[in-house]
Symmetry: C2
Subunit: 299 residues, 2 copies
């Protein structure tokens, strides 16, 4: 059973920093800065991992006493062209292998938007389902769980046709819970009045949360990753880099954390804020601020 | 019964131009330009109507052979402060009176965002319900139906806490269908995979579509207004002025129109595009383009 009132220290031990939050840091700076701050985990992105080398990055973080909470990201499954589609699947298999090399069990998937000129959202969503089915066994064989992320509806056209937690669960539940889960990111989901009901659905007792073919036990929750950012306005051009520091915006972060915990999720709580105003500051200072904000607004 | 395959001419006769689509036009230019283009209706905004005078505007449009499809907008119901709340209700009663003066039966309502510093979306949504209940009889007494508009979730914090058609219907159905309906705006709702089900719910036979206390017959549909714009990316800073010309984006406009018609809605189909690239062009040229696009993508 999940403790309904975990201690502050216990919650702080789950804090992870997604590296794009402090893009100004190199991987060695990230490893050093997070270790000094007492963190136990970081979330990584493929491009900087490629630049450093996946094996070298794995060693660097292990030596710093850090684990990898998530690898961001696979996905982009919506192409209609067979060659593009095959390339996307091949790239996702590579991402699964990289996740395994890094020792993380969670690969975040951003589904992709509408193909150019298309207006067929249901068709694109069905291609996401097909890709999940194609990749899930390969991921499971590598000890990696696919973490399907619903993105805010403002990204439905150009980035992710999966816009709500309900949709993500609809897709994930077609496959064993040990193989496919969902990402709960406060920035994308906070506005949705069906959220409490959908998070209840994601809990361990829910339909679909069954053991997989290898008879591994079902994970306690369909939630595979939990990410935090606040919602602030006005949104910047392109709406990608306008996420808010914890506590600066409209999201009731503690409400989210309590309900995600109630699903049975006991994994890392990753802070993922894309905002140039954080990138222009001293990284250690920003990380200290994040820990303070996390303590105040999340624990 | 609604004709499932209305003729192109019949659909074109329902085309209305929301005046903010051609902000470069004065009210007399709007009346003249729309009449010359063969339109029968326009949608108006309160600020330009105030500047011209509501009675004078009503006369101007009547003389041009035009009716007013909607008045935009009332709403902004989410303040917690009693004085702000009273002021909002008073302003909405004035908007109802203006709608009556203009001869339109439809006042569009944008609910308002979160009060400064608040994270309580459910509370804000309940205050919207309270305001609707307070205003609906006053509107009905003036022959005006309140048209609650769900806005895209990207506006939930700062503009409208009602983000989906399901939420808007939840609120509207607490009151007689003759008094409160919903606005279906393609720009705000296109991404939602529950849309077909919610539009079916909005049809005349649905729960709540009952005659009101004055025993007037229930309107055929909970849909009180239908507005068109396309979804294009990238979104501009502030995400207000990035709507697309019909056919330029991701929205299947004909799909929408067919399903809105199937609810029993037979009213105006209003084009409401906020985009500086349309405002910088010759208004007659833009209106001609809109009619062409409407014919191609909507009828």
């Amino acid at each position: 059973m999940t403790d309904p009132n975990p201690s502050r220290a216990r919650l702080l031990s789950r804090l992870s920093l997604n590296q794009e939050t402090l893009r100004q840091w190199s991987l060695p700076e990230l490893a050093d800065g997070c270790a000094r701050a007492g963190l136990r985990a970081v979330g990584l992105w493929r491009a900087p991992v490629h630049a450093y080398g996946a094996s070298a990055a794995a060693r660097l973080l292990r030596d710093a006493g850090l684990t990898v909470s998530t690898l961001c990201r696979g996905g982009f499954f919506t192409a209609e062209d067979p060659a593009e589609r095959a390339a996307a699947l091949a790239d996702n298999r590579a991402a699964i292998e990289e996740a395994a090399t890094l020792g993380t069990d969670t690969l975040v998937l951003v589904s992709g938007g509408l193909p150019p000129g298309s207006r067929d959202l249901p068709g694109a969503r069905e291609r996401v389902a097909d890709a999940l089915a194609a990749l899930a066994p390969y991921a499971a064989a590598h000890g990696v769980r696919l973490a399907l992320e619903p993105l805010h509806p403002m990204y439905a056209a150009d980035r992710c046709v999966v816009s709500t937690l309900a949709q993500a669960l609809d897709l994930a539940e077609r496959l064993p819970a040990a193989q496919v889960g969902v990402v709960v990111d406060t920035y994308h989901l906070w506005w949705d009045d069906t959220l409490a009901a959908q998070l209840a659905r994601a809990s361990g007792g829910a339909a679909g949360a069954v053991a997989d073919q290898e008879r591994r036990p079902a994970p306690p929750s369909r939630v595979a990753a939990f990410q935090l950012a606040d919602w602030i306005t006005p949104l910047p051009e392109g709406v990608l880099l306008g996420r808010g520091q914890l506590g600066d915006g409209s999201v009731d972060l503690r409400w989210f954390r309590e309900r995600v915990d109630a699903t049975g999720y006991e994994g890392p709580i990753e802070v993922e804020i894309f905002n140039p105003s954080l990138w222009s500051r001293n990284g250690t200072e920003v990380l200290t601020e994040i820990i303070t904000r996390f303590t105040h607004h999340v624990t």
